[in-house]
């Protein structure tokens, strides 16, 4: 018995007849959707176009691919049914065992091996597929049609496995073959951050050639034009197979358009959240756009994509998205309890079923988009004009570009005369220097120590130490930089005292990765206008003091003291990449802290 129970449908139900003709039986995966027969029709359309039509890849090899993907996903239901179908087409038991174990099948042609490996990779981890994988297919002799079929087949396999995890249908057959245990992690390995963007750009899947298909000649395009306002590349990119496009649109019509079980908005939210979890920027953009058309504000849409828990959704809808994201991305962990959770919140079996099918459809579309290399729909307008923001750009700082200041040479310094006198023991000159730079010293100290009182104490140490060592200053850097390094040493001494809890350099284990921006509400155009200067300063200072010290330090020196990244690295004895990482994370953390004061939502409340 499947998770949602099974109702009976007449055996002469059209989609059932089609399956019986094609496979000799009606899989329980379809019977488990009998609460909403239109969903069965949708799957029948997709299976008909992808699995049974075409011909660039043989029917037998298609079954082999579906079975391999089921084996990779350890999907017991699909393994049993696909194993049966594959063997009924004449594949010997030994070969099926090899597929189940994930080992290479003997006797496959080069093209068959290549397409099998490609489909497995695409289904397992779509974002990791790159131009080399496509090149391997081409080298093995696959033409456009065959590449298209391979991509569509992977998408269908993902659709079926997602559904089987969600529905838990009764197996159609006893396991002829026990699913082999894999060494592969169930979790999908996402592309590693270590790839540079250069490499990623070169490795990106090239768009599959798509012949021009006129909306005048192809009715489905006219419908798309009406619903989207234009024909997105997602559909244009499939023009090689108008029959498949047609089937897809008929499936979409049955799954997404009805508004009587889940609402259109709920379904678009599912598509958005699961696409985001699948790292599919293209589909995220598309569903954000569609949600806007359905009346959702852009901010709310974005918030769902980034983190739906922080959005304005009801508790029930949040749970619905949790459910869909888990099913869509961690199908192997999905279980009956997940269904029960939604039922407790009042969702009907029909609603849960529809949510699962929408999730499956989403994974189908995500896989297709990635595999076909569908390109963004909009040319980037020049979103940011360089001069519009007051950012001390690298090009503006003295240490970058043509006028670089070589640090080993004696530098021009307005303080030079005063310094020379101070070095000769002139206290008045020293006092003058200290007054000129007290602000810089103080900021360095606050940054390092994290509170104004300690900074004031350390300031005294710094000035005394500077006077003591001024004779050793050789003018190889600006006097101000030298003062900063003295201040830094004084602060470090304080931090090394046993009572001090903060450390600047320990705990580097969290350096990489896990910080993700959460706030996506847009900020006001002119955030400054809602607060007085003093209020702004207080907001900024509180935000900065709340940062962990190692980030605070870098943000203070770069953004308040406006040193260049190289100078910050030098001052702190850190590598430039470390400074960059900390600076970005520090700025992003600060952004989260400042957001509540400056998002459009607070407009009118602020004084």
């Amino acid at each position: 018995m499947s998770f949602l129970g099974e109702t009976q449908l007449e055996d002469d139900f059209g989609a059932f007849v089609a399956f019986r003709e094609a496979l000799g039986f009606v899989p329980n995966l379809l019977r488990a959707q009998a609460l909403l027969p239109r969903l069965i029709e949708a799957q029948a359309k997709l299976e008909g176009a992808v699995r049974l039509s075409g011909g660039a890849i043989s029917r037998l090899h298609k079954e082999r691919i579906l079975l391999s993907i089921a084996a990779d996903r350890e999907d017991a239901y699909c393994l049993a049914v696909d194993g049966k179908v594959t063997s009924s087409l004449g594949v010997p038991a030994g070969e099926i065992d090899a597929i189940l174990e994930g080992s290479r099948c003997a006797g496959l042609s080069g093209a068959e091996s290549a397409s099998l490996e490609f489909c497995r990779k695409l289904a397992r981890n779509a974002p990791s597929v790159d131009s080399e994988d496509i090149a391997a297919l081409r080298a093995a002799g696959l033409d456009d049609s065959a590449v298209f079929e391979a991509v569509a087949l992977s998408a269908l396999a993902v659709y079926r496995c997602t559904l089987s995890a969600g529905l838990g249908p009764t197996p159609d057959f006893e396991h002829a073959h026990a699913p082999a245990k894999k060494n592969q992690p169930a979790e999908r390995p996402y592309p590693s951050q270590t790839h540079g963007i250069h490499e990623l750009m070169q490795r990106r899947v090239p768009p599959l050639p798509a012949p021009y298909l006129s909306p005048l000649a192809f009715a489905p395009f006219r419908i798309i034009q009406q619903t989207h306002g234009f024909i997105p590349n997602f559909f244009r990119g499939q023009s090689l197979r108008p029959d498949l496009l047609q089937a897809e649109l008929e499936a979409v019509e049955r799954i997404l358009l009805p508004d009587d079980v889940l609402t259109r908005v709920q379904k678009e939210c599912i598509l958005l959240a699961v696409s985001a979890a699948n790292l599919n920027s293209y589909c995220v953009a598309m569903h954000c756009n569609l949600l806007r058309g359905l009346g959702m504000s852009p901010e709310d849409g974005d918030q769902i994509a980034v983190d739906h828990h922080q959005s304005n959704l009801s508790e029930a809808d949040t749970a619905l998205l949790d459910f869909a994201v888990k099913l869509g991305t961690r199908a192997s962990e999905f279980c009956r309890e997940d269904v029960a959770k939604l039922q407790k919140l009042g969702f009907t079996a029909e609603q849960i079923l529809e949510c699962e099918v929408v999730t499956a459809l989403n994974n189908f579309a995500n896989t297709l988009q990635m595999g076909l290399g569908i390109e963004p729909d909009f040319e980037a307008p020049h979103v940011f004009e360089k001069n519009k923001v007051h950012l001390s750009a690298a090009g503006d700082t003295p240490n970058a570009g043509g006028g670089a200041v070589p640090l080993v040479d004696i530098v021009q310094d307005a303080d030079a005369e005063c310094v020379a006198k101070a070095q000769n023991g002139c206290l008045e000159s020293f006092e003058e220097l200290v007054r000129r730079h007290s602000r810089l010293i103080y900021r360095t100290l606050v940054a390092m120590l994290g509170n104004p009182a300690d900074a004031q104490d350390a300031m005294q140490d710094t000035l005394l130490s500077a006077f003591k060592h001024i004779g050793a200053f050789e003018g190889r850097s600006k006097f101000s930089s030298w003062l900063v390094s003295i201040a830094k040493n004084c602060a470090l001494q304080r931090l090394r005292r046993p009572k001090s809890m903060e450390s600047l350099d320990e705990g580097d284990f969290d350096e990489e990765g896990d910080f993700r921006p959460r706030q996506v509400r847009a900020w006001q155009d002119d955030p400054e206008q809602f607060y007085s200067k003093a209020e702004l300063q207080q907001i900024v200072e509180r935000g900065i003091l709340g940062l962990p010290p190692k980030y605070r330090m870098v943000v203070m020196l770069r953004d308040i003291q406006q040193l260049s990244i190289d100078e910050v690295a030098q001052q702190l004895g850190l590598s430039v990449p470390t400074v960059k990482t900390r600076l970005l994370r520090g700025r992003l953390m600060l952004r989260e802290r400042l957001s509540p004061h400056f998002t459009t939502a607070v407009k009118g409340i602020a004084q």
Binding site: I197, F378, E379, A394, P517, V520
Partner: protein, 80 residues
């Protein structure tokens, strides 16, 4: 199109205007398609602007004077 993760990996250099024109184009293409990253980008730039223009962590003049006076007094007594 690059993913949000990939965008984020380059975002630091982007904020610093330290990316090559072709990467810049790629990032801006992403930003034009992805409102979440657009908001991230816009608000991060505003964050930097607010911080740089906030005159934060100014030591009040009287406090600063008091500290400097105290130090100078010490040095005048014992300049070694």
């Amino acid at each position: 199109m690059i993913t949000c993760e990939e965008f984020l990996a380059e975002f630091g250099d982007y904020l610093e205007n330290q990316v090559s024109p072709e990467i810049r184009k790629e990032l801006e293409l992403h930003v034009s398609q992805c409102r979440a990253c657009q908001v991230l980008c816009d608000s991060s730039r505003k964050t930097v602007r607010l911080v740089t223009e906030s005159c934060s962590f100014e030591l009040p003049e009287n406090v600063s004077d008091a500290i400097i006076d105290r130090v100078m007094e010490k040095l005048r007594k014992d300049p070694s």
